[in-house]
Symmetry: C2
Subunit: 136 residues, 2 copies
DNA sequence: TATTGTTATACTCTATAACTATA
DNA sequence: TATAGTTATAGAGTATAACAATA
C-alpha cells in the first residue's frame, strides 16, 4: 500500500504532534487534568496575578473559551481569583493547585524525555529550533 | 511575561502543527475541501480500489467516522464506490475528483514549500526524520 | 473607544457502542 | 470468528456574536 502523505513534512508534523499529545493526555487524565489545565497552571505559576484574558492570549485560546476553563480550575480549588480593578481578576495558584501542578510537571517531564529519546541523536538539537521557526 | 511552555519541545510541536494546519486549512477552504478530504483523495489516487476501512487505518480515522467523509466525497462527485465483494466497496477518484485533487495538490505544495522556507537552512534536513521518529 | 468578563450557540473532530451482513 | 459498513450518540475543542461594566 502506497502512502503519498509520507512525502509531506507537514503531514509528519501533524501526525507527530497527534501522537505526542495522545501520550501526554493519557498520562494527565488519571490526575484529573486536561492538557489545557496543565498549560494554564504552568503559566499562572510563572506569572502570578495574570488575568484570564492575558492567559488566553498566551495560550492562543479565545477569551470566551477561557471562562469554563478558569471556572473548572477554580471549582477544583486549584486557582483563586482576586479583583485587580473594577473589571479584571488576577489568577493565582492555591496550595492545592501547586501540589497538583507538581504532579503534572512530573508526567510532562516524563513525556518530554520520551520525546527526546525517540529522536535519533543526530537530529535532536535541530528539532526545537526548527519547530519554533514554524509558529513564533 | 514569562512563558515556561517555551521550554518544552512537545509544546513547540503542538503549536507548530497548529500553525501549519491553520494555514493549510485556510487555503483548502476556498476549494470546498477539508484537510481530511485532500488526505483521503491523495491516498485513493495512489491506491485505487482501496476500501474505506483500509483508508481509515492509514489515515488513523475510526471506521465509523469514515462514513460521513466518504459520503461527502461521493456526493460531491469526486469519488465512486464499486462493490468489491459482498461486504466491501472499492473507492476510486472520478475525473472531477482528479481535477479537484490537482487543485488541492497545488495549495498543499505551496504550503509545504513555505514550511520548508521558514525553517533555518541548517535545521531543514533534520526536521522530517526527527518528526517521523515520533509517530512511525 | 477599547478591553474584560460573560452568556449563548454552533460547528468540527473524535470516540464508543451496537447492529447487520459477509468473509 | 473476524471484518466491513453503518447508525446513533456523546464529548471535547473551538469559533462567533453579542452584551454589560469598566478602563
Amino acid at each position: 500500500m502506497k502512502d503519498p502523505l509520507l512525502d509531506y513534512p507537514g503531514y509528519s508534523l501533524r501526525r507527530a504532534a497527534g501522537a505526542v499529545m495522545t501520550r501526554l493526555i493519557a498520562r494527565l487524565e488519571p490526575l484529573g487534568l486536561r492538557f489545557v489545565d496543565s498549560s494554564a497552571m504552568l503559566m499562572i505559576e510563572a506569572n502570578p496575578r495574570i488575568t484570564a484574558s492575558q492567559l488566553g492570549r498566551m495560550l492562543d485560546i479565545q477569551r470566551a473559551n477561557m471562562v469554563p476553563l478558569v471556572n473548572r480550575l477554580e471549582a477544583e480549588g486549584w486557582i483563586e481569583r482576586a479583583p485587580l480593578d473594577g473589571k479584571s481578576h488576577s489568577l493565582a495558584l492555591t496550595a492545592a493547585g501547586k501540589a497538583k501542578l507538581a504532579e503534572a510537571r512530573r508526567v510532562i517531564a516524563e513525556t518530554e524525555a520520551e520525546l527526546i529519546a525517540r529522536v535519533p541523536a543526530e537530529h535532536r538539537a535541530h528539532l526545537k529550533p526548527a519547530l519554533d521557526a514554524l509558529w513564533r
